[in-house]
């Protein structure tokens, strides 16, 4: 494969939310450092997984990346355009190329719109198809693409099951023919038997259209299945990033190790035989993240150095990046 320019470049992206108090004058009393300096690239046609505990900043990273939250600092380039400084027409063109699939198939569809209106919204907004009739034709086509019958376009979201609603979300994301889709836990809310339907759909669409995904999840087994490379996030920073089999078989960071050991294996003998590393203590508050390495209060390997210095982000093996003093 020839070296091409990556589709998405993220450099030192930060997103802080102000914590305010007071009834009248909203005084800022602190900052939630939801995303605190993450950098990665996503190549064309690749799926990058982003995993981590609840509240570690995955959703915030995904949304800031698409410019849905204004970034506090950092640069995001999607297909060469800087999304943080883009405005007006340029922003609209990036929005067309970069789409999002939401975690909650119940909350992310307007309950008062028909499926037709929902899926055709991108077509209308980007003036891709002006004629109403052609637009409905295209909607039906998109519905077919995600495995739903075109006859259902006049229904309302509440008339569908969770898996079907997630497909409608996928159809909407595909409508503007994007290059890149941020999938924010697209399957967490679904039943196991339906999860596979949606994952297979995403894979098929990628094969057909050469899509690029950022796949956010906390289910590490699904991530191993669908992603090419995986980034592990902890408290607003990425602690390890590697090609998937490399990460799952030769993980380096103690947090990755704990995370992996917590995933249940559907095989009683194997599951009982393996050694679990149960993380003790709670996830520290992102308002006052620990000094030094953020993981040190819960880390079994933590030493003096970890309490003082931020570990460096380094390439421990080709393509395998990690931030830890001890490995």
């Amino acid at each position: 494969m020839s070296v091409t320019q990556p589709l998405v470049e993220v450099q030192n992206l930060k997103k802080y939310f102000p914590v305010t108090s007071g009834l009248f004058l909203q005084r800022k009393v602190g900052m939630v450092r939801a995303v605190d300096g993450v950098s990665f690239i996503i190549n064309r046609g690749e799926t990058l997984g982003l995993v981590g505990e609840s509240g570690c900043g995955k959703t915030t990273a995904g949304r800031t990346l698409l410019g849905l939250y204004p970034a506090t600092a950092g640069v995001v380039r999607i297909d060469g355009h800087d999304i943080c400084s883009a405005k007006g027409r340029e922003l609209l063109s990036i929005r067309r190329k970069a789409q999002m699939i939401f975690q909650d198939p119940y909350a992310s569809l307007n309950p008062r719109w028909t499926v037709n209106a929902i899926v055709s919204e991108p077509l209308r907004v980007h003036k891709l198809i002006k004629n109403n009739k052609e637009r409905s034709e295209r909607v039906k086509e998109l519905m077919g693409l995600v495995g739903l019958s075109g006859r259902l376009v006049n229904r309302f979201p509440h008339e569908f099951s969770g898996g079907q609603r997630q497909r409608i979300g996928v159809a909407r994301a595909l409508a503007s023919e994007p290059l890149f889709i941020v999938c924010d836990e697209p399957i967490s809310a679904l039943d196991v038997s339906i999860q596979a339907q949606v994952v297979n759909l995403l894979e098929d669409l990628q094969d057909q259209f050469g899509l690029t995904y950022l796949f956010i999840a906390h289910d590490l087994s699904m991530v191993r299945h669908i992603c090419d490379r995986v980034a592990v996030m902890y408290l607003g920073v990425i602690v390890e990033l590697a090609e998937r089999n490399e990460l799952y078989e030769h993980y380096l960071h103690p947090y990755t190790r704990a995370l992996l050991s917590a995933v249940p294996i559907p095989d009683p003998k194997k599951d009982r035989a393996r050694q679990r590393i149960i993380l003790t203590g709670d996830v520290p508050s992102p308002i006052h993240p620990p000094e030094g390495c953020r993981f040190h209060p819960r880390c079994p390997l933590a030493g003096e150095e970890c309490r003082i210095n931020d570990p460096q982000w380094r390439e421990a093996a080709p393509g395998h990046w990690v931030a830890c003093h001890k490995v």
Binding site: S54, V192, S193, H225, P266, P268, I278
Partner: protein
């Protein structure tokens, strides 16, 4: 092993404006002393309704228990008087942890108040004794600073901590059966592992029987002794935990396992998904409920509902077809 709970042919329905909801359609299972039984099935298949029927927690109407028995130590829980249920069974002999740790704690009462409350009504303890026991319980579920935590309100706890408080409350009266309704579904993997670990430890300490409800077959592999797989208000397979994973004999169980990706294996195949969705419970069940989505379906499946029949030691399935040979039973 003695059976501590035996449920026979339980049927629960709801009368709603849209029609009758056939939520539980003749379920039979048993629970041995000290064992852990997992109940697995998709959302809406009737897992919660089964347990709530046994504990008579469903609002009636709309709910109606249309038939069956639930024998706990010789008495039928579906027949005993209400006050008997309230004072001697629920929360004392059989404790339940609910699906959502967020909504099952009262937000305006301290944790301490909520734990001591049940100790005082069921165990007739005075306030001081109840408080001592509450601290003991919180320590048992692994919360540090237990004494201070008694004064805390639920919102000051994280999801995992709240679920531990729920467990502590459930254990307060030394129940002989603990029913845990998807206690980890709302939590992420690391917290889920903590809770599973905690329950394994407590089970050894207290020696109680556990019914663990979940929709993810992966979670119970390391925890359960036996597994019941439910689908659309029926139990379709019942087996020892090893058999379920190594020798799944019902097409549904088989499909569920094939749909699970494995963290310990390299990707070697497309996930096998089950086409379609579970049937509407508004229609009176007719034939095998899984037939419309089943790849082994034969003509008989649409006409007769298969009953749970043994296929091996402690292993029963409800299916007309032997999925290994393709032969009909």
């Amino acid at each position: 092993m003695t059976k501590i709970l035996e449920v026979n042919d339980l049927m629960t329905r709801f009368h709603t404006t849209e029609g009758m909801v056939y939520a539980v359609n003749g379920i039979s299972f048993h629970l041995d002393e000290g064992e852990t039984l997992a109940v697995v099935g998709e959302s809406g298949c009737g897992k919660s309704v089964t347990m709530m029927s046994i504990l008579r927690l469903l609002p009636m109407p709309p709910a109606q228990i249309a038939g069956g028995t639930a024998i706990y130590l010789g008495q039928d829980l579906l027949k005993i008087p209400d006050h008997e249920m309230e004072h001697n069974i629920r929360g004392k002999e059989i404790a339940m942890i609910f699906q959502d740790p967020m909504t099952s704690l009262n937000p305006v009462l301290t944790i301490g108040k909520q734990i001591t409350e049940s100790l005082r009504t069921h165990m007739f303890m005075d306030q001081a004794a109840a408080e001592r026991r509450a601290v003991e319980l919180l320590e048992m579920v692994g919360l540090s600073d237990a004494r201070q935590r008694l004064k805390a309100y639920p919102h000051q706890f994280s999801g995992g901590m709240r679920q531990r408080v729920m467990i502590a409350m459930a254990l307060a009266c030394n129940p002989s059966i603990l029913i845990a309704d998807e206690p980890t579904t709302a939590l992420d993997v690391t917290i889920q592992a903590q809770i599973v670990e905690l329950v394994i430890r407590l089970r050894e300490q207290i020696h109680m029987a556990i019914i663990w409800i979940t929709h993810n077959l992966g979670v119970v592999a390391g925890l359960a002794d036996r597994v019941n797989v439910m689908y659309a208000g029926y139990i379709v397979e019942e087996a020892n935990v090893e058999d379920i994973y190594e020798d799944p004999s019902h097409p549904y169980t088989n499909a569920l396992l094939a749909a699970l990706p494995r963290v310990d294996r390299r990707r070697d195949r497309r996930l096998k998904s089950i086409a379609g969705a579970p049937p509407s419970l508004l229609v009176e069940p007719h034939g095998c409920p899984f037939a419309p989505r089943c790849e082994y379906v034969v003509e008989r499946c649409g006409m007769e509902t298969p009953r749970l029949t043994p296929v091996g030691r402690d292993h029963a399935i409800a299916c007309w077809v032997d999925i290994k040979t393709g032969a009909q039973r």
